[in-house]
Structure formats: structure tokens, C-alpha cells
Symmetry: C2
Subunit: 232 residues, 2 copies
DNA sequence: TGTACATCAGTGAACGCGCGTTCACTGATGTAC
DNA sequence: TGTACATCAGTGAACGCGCGTTCACTGATGTAC
């Protein structure tokens, strides 16, 4: 609680307060309702003062997005590395569970990243890298299993994958540094998207009145997709 | 282009114009940016006049949501019935493709239904039934295949499904009128959620720069989940 | 067919609100010599 | 250690905007007799 000494310390502290006030506002009003003025109000500043710390509302949104991607990415990476010695399927399921947990704990942050785009806001390039951390954490599980020779060959061959999709897969394989059969890549993408589809449905109450045991259902579906990838 | 005769005809016509103006606004500004005033402006009315046709902004949103669910539901049902004589897997894939097509054609309508909740708006009960049309259309494909004895038994048994989930599945089985093994229900739910996860990612550009052939990828993943259900 | 009344659609002004952003300013903190 | 100047944080007023909703009103359309 000491008063900060240097200007820089002060600036950092106020910036922190501003960002966490913004995050609280986000949790209450959603991304579309986030306003610089309400953030200023919450930290007891006059509205024009926040412009000392932030270029514009869009700038604030971008920072929130990057912070959130990093926070979720870290959660996924943490889970994946904490279960590095578990069975591959358990590791996949645990990482998925961590992603779901994070999403339920801060639904508005999840919706900021994966929900409707904020009207009038266009995400800049800077969000691409932190946004890739989650899929990369998932891929690392598959990669490790494959490298160790533990990956069960795909049950269903990828007979029907069109040539254009092969091109995408080849390029993707280089980016994520994995030499896997198309069927494995396809199943991994299926698992990745299924996970987020399920979380999104749970958060937006699409399954209202139909499912009670969301945790159980989520785990069962991720284990199914993990199994499909060849994880055991 | 005739002037309408009766008051009722007039009222219906103006209501139609109002709703489609609202839909255009939705496409431009997104659900959070939709305003009664802009809708009034677009149909050349004074802002207070729309209250003759709509109770409030929330009422307008509710109507848009119901209309959209019905439109998407009809598209899914249409595809499923049009491919009733195709192979089950083709039928599943075609229905999924119709859902994706609809979503790409009117992304804001998709986001209205499955994106971030509109701040300050709580969906009333009335949206539940139209919202169920899509999953029911998908379930009907599985049901038909099962009834005809064409459903291949599940590859992966549902060893690990917890008891609470069984309860959900039993109740669900009654609601959707299908007597299927838990593994089939699980795979169907997985396919359903995967589909929407993939569409959501495509619409919000999560796969930007990584995937070009979205149609091909989508079809490959839905065929994979369909196969998992036991459709051939 | 004609008159008297009721219903309805649309107007225009107003209330009270919140928003992003700019700008000239004051006073405190930091820096160079 | 002391002074002169530059930098920075925060203020307060203002601009121009859009929003949802209410209300008393006018004039046209419909209905009962």
C-alpha cells in the first residue's frame, strides 16, 4: 500500500488497476458494453484521463483480448505439462477440462475471444500468436504421443479428403511441426473444434433443460475425440 | 405494389417491412448494435411509431431470434428430407453442409443465435422450441438409420460414462424419442457440437491463415463424426 | 346510403441517459547543469 | 545542494452523437345503427 516512488512504478500500478477494472466491466456488461467512461469511473478518474494509459477503446479491447488469450493459453499449457506423465488420453482430457474450467470461470473473457465480434472493432494481427497457444498445447499432446510411438493408427482412413484439403494439411503440418497422417490431423482438428463448440453451447445455455451433468458430458466427448485421434 | 385495402393487410405489410429492416440492421451492426431508432429510420418512420408494431427492443430481438431459429431449422429439415434416400452418412453430411451454408449466408443471424448473448437481453422461454429444430433434424437421421437397422454398432464403447450422465441420456432419449445406446447418443452430441464449433471458428476467423478449404475441412470433420455415430 | 362514434397509425417534442474523443489547463515529479 | 526547465498525470468543460421510451396530438380508417 506504499505510495509508489517513481513515475514508472506509479504508471504500472495505475495501468494494472485500469486493466482489472476493465476486466470487471467486461464481466458485467460484456465486450459490446465495455466503455472507457465506465472504466474511468470505476477507478475514480475523469474520463479523459484514461487516454494517458490507453490510445482508444479499440486499443483497450485489443489488450484485453491478448491478455485473455495468454491467460487461457497458459492454463492449457499448464494442464498439458502437468499431465505429461499420465496416459495420453487422460492428458488430452485433462487439458480439455482445464480449458473448460477457465471458460466457465470467466465466461465473458471466453466470449470476448470466441463469441460475436465486437461491432466496429477489428482485431489486429497481434492477437494471432497468443491465440495459437491453445491449439498448440493440444497439438503437443498428439505430437508427444506420436513421437513416442504410442499413437494408435487411425481407425477410419481419410479416404474422402479432397486434394485442396491435403494442401492445407501439408502446410499446417509444417507450421505446427508435426509429421502426422492426414487422418490424425483431421481428428485433432475435430477434437479441437468439438471442445469449443461444447463449451460455447454450455455458456450460452443451448443445452438448457436437456443436460445437467455438463462436466461429465464434456469429459465423455473429449475422451471420444481423443480416442479418435489415436490417443490411449 | 397496390396500396393495401384493409387495416390488417396494411399492418402485416408494415410489420414485414419492419422485420426485414431490422434484419438488415442486424447484418450491419450486429445484435448488440441493433436499435429501434435505426430501424424506424430505415423504413422512414418516426422512432416512436415502431411501438405500434413492437413492444420494446427486447421484443424485437426475441422475434428476430425465433424467426432465425425457424429459418435455420427449416433449412436443416429440408436438407435432411431431401436426402432421405441417400446413404446415411451422405445425408448427415448434406444436412451439416446446409447448416453451414445457412450460417455463412447470414453470419449475423448465426451469431444472434449462437454468439455472445446480447447485453441486457434475456431470451424468454419461447425460443426453446424453435431452437430445438436443428438438433432434432440431426437426430432424425440417426433415428432413421437405427430403425432401419443400418446403424453400425459403436466402435468405442462408453466404458467411462458416469452415472449422472446416464440419467441425462435416459431422459434425453425419451424427449427425442430414440432408443439408442448411450454411445450413440454421445457420438451424436459430439457431432452436433463439433459442427457448430467449426462453423463458429470459421465465422469468427479463428482459423485465419491456417485453413483455406473450409468447405472441404467441414465436410471431412462431419463425415468423421457421422462415421463415429455409426452412419454409413 | 348516411351519420356518429371508436379505433388505430403515425407525428413531433421531450426526458434523461451514456458514449468516445479533444483541448487548454494546473500542479507535481523528474532531469540537466 | 540548488536552480531552471521539461515532462507527465490528471482535471473539467465541451462537442456532437445516438439511444429507449413516453405522451398528447392529428387525421384517417373502420363499425354500429
Amino acid at each position: 500500500m506504499d505510495a509508489p516512488r517513481t513515475r514508472q512504478q506509479h504508471r504500472e500500478q495505475v495501468t494494472d488497476e485500469l486493466m482489472s477494472a476493465a476486466r470487471r466491466q467486461l464481466a458485467q456488461a460484456g465486450a459490446a458494453g465495455l466503455s472507457l467512461r465506465s472504466v474511468a469511473r470505476e477507478i475514480g478518474m475523469v474520463s479523459s484521463a484514461v487516454y494517458r494509459y490507453v490510445d482508444s477503446r479499440d486499443d483497450l479491447l485489443t489488450r484485453l483480448i491478448i491478455e485473455s488469450y495468454d491467460s487461457l493459453g497458459a492454463a492449457a499449457e499448464h494442464a498439458a505439462s502437468e499431465h505429461a506423465d499420465s496416459g495420453d488420453l487422460d492428458r488430452w482430457s485433462a487439458t480439455a477440462a482445464a480449458i473448460r474450467r477457465w471458460s466457465l470461470d470467466q465466461p465473458h473473457d471466453y466470449l470476448l475471444l470466441y463469441g460475436s465480434p465486437v461491432p466496429g472493432y477489428a482485431a489486429p494481427q497481434d492477437t494471432t500468436t497468443p491465440g495459437g497457444r491453445v491449439p498448440l498445447a493440444l497439438v503437443s499432446i498428439v505430437r508427444d504421443a506420436r513421437t513416442a510411438g504410442r499413437l494408435v493408427p487411425p481407425v477410419e482412413a481419410d479416404r474422402a479428403a479432397p486434394a485442396t484439403l491435403r494442401v492445407d494439411f501439408d502446410r499446417l503440418a509444417e507450421v505446427i511441426d508435426i509429421e502426422a497422417a492426414p487422418a490424425i490431423m483431421l481428428a485433432t482438428i475435430t477434437g479441437w473444434t468439438q471442445m469449443f463448440g461444447m463449451i460455447g453451447f454450455e455458456l450460452t445455455n443451448q443445452t438448457r433443460g436437456v443436460i445437467d451433468d455438463h462436466a461429465g458430458l464434456f469429459d465423455a466427448t473429449t475422451r471420444l475425440t481423443g480416442w479418435l485421434i489415436g490417443l490411449r
